[in-house]
């Protein structure tokens, strides 16, 4: 089977986007439901239960996390800049922005580890009531997603340095970007409902 024949029906029926992008969006739909289970349980346990909930700022360090939020948003911007560079075929800027993104993501995870160590040191554990349970489960799984993202992003960056992505072939960058922004988006929600409310 020739590639031309395979490509012919790529664009005929279908969603009008290429496979990997559609696949990633479909996967993200699934991720929405995963976080719905975790965040939904948090909402149910916190707002449905009669027991009082500790004020988050008395337990958690809001300024540090606000800074961390800022770092993650910045890495989202650098990601989208990398994508724009890839589309334009600008190899130098592509590599630069990807590197910035990887560093941003790694920093976020690092700060989270620091935050966890600090909290555990202060005896705030997953077993510390419903707040501890939900806090560590939600932020932990978000952190896990960021870590996975950093690993994949590192791989994409290495590929970029090898010159894999061109003006014609930027799909890898776009698809990992979608995942990255999604993880950012989840954090935006988590930061608000876990730390601020």
């Amino acid at each position: 089977m020739s590639h031309a024949a395979a490509d012919a029906h790529l664009l005929e029926p279908g969603a009008g986007v290429y496979h990997k992008k559609l696949g990633m969006w479909v996967f993200l739909a699934s991720e929405v439901m995963f976080f719905t289970a975790l965040i939904g349980s948090y909402i149910i346990l916190r707002f449905g239960a009669a027991e009082s909930w500790p004020v988050p700022s008395t337990v958690l360090n809001i300024p540090v996390t606000a800074l961390n939020t800022f770092i993650l948003i910045c890495s989202s911007v650098s990601m989208v800049k990398a994508y724009a560079a890839a589309v334009e075929g600008d190899q130098k800027r592509l590599r630069l922005w990807l590197l910035v993104t990887v560093i941003g993501g790694a920093t976020f995870v690092g700060v989270q580890v620091f935050e966890y160590t600090h909290l555990i040191h202060e005896h705030f554990l997953p077993s510390s009531g419903l707040f501890g349970s939900t806090f560590y489960t939600m932020t932990g799984f978000h952190g896990f997603h960021v870590s996975m993202g950093v690993i994949c992003m590192t791989w994409v960056t290495i590929q970029a340095f090898r010159g894999r992505y061109t003006r014609e072939n930027y799909h890898g960058v776009e698809v990992i970007g979608l995942y990255w922004h999604f993880v950012d988006l989840v954090w935006i929600i988590l930061f608000t409902i876990v730390y601020l409310i």
């Binding site: 559609l22 939904g40 935006i188 601020l196 409310i197």
Partner: protein, 92 residues
């Protein structure tokens, strides 16, 4: 192909808006004297607005075929159904 269909939006402007909104959020959260219901409403509103900005511009949903929007929106009603119905169960 797809890349030429739209010009890149001004990503730095989006970033600036996100930054300002985060600052506002933290600021609002630190105000202690506003009613709690209002606080929750404002914070949630800001968070959702930020999330929509990220989806629309960074994930360029705004520039994708309309059909893709179905994929993205499909889980949202389910999420709402789940949480709202189970909350009926435990009216705190």
């Amino acid at each position: 192909m797809e890349s030429t269909e739209h010009k890149h939006p001004n990503y730095m402007a989006v970033w600036a808006v996100l930054f300002v909104m985060t600052v506002i959020e933290v600021g609002v959260a630190m105000l202690s004297h506003i009613p709690r219901a209002l606080l929750v409403l404002v914070l949630l509103g800001l968070a959702i607005w930020k999330a929509v900005l990220v989806a629309m511009y960074f994930m360029h949903l705004k520039f994708e075929p309309r059909r893709l929007l179905f994929v993205v929106l499909a889980p949202l009603p389910l999420a709402v159904i789940l949480v709202v119905i189970v909350l009926q169960e435990f009216p705190g």
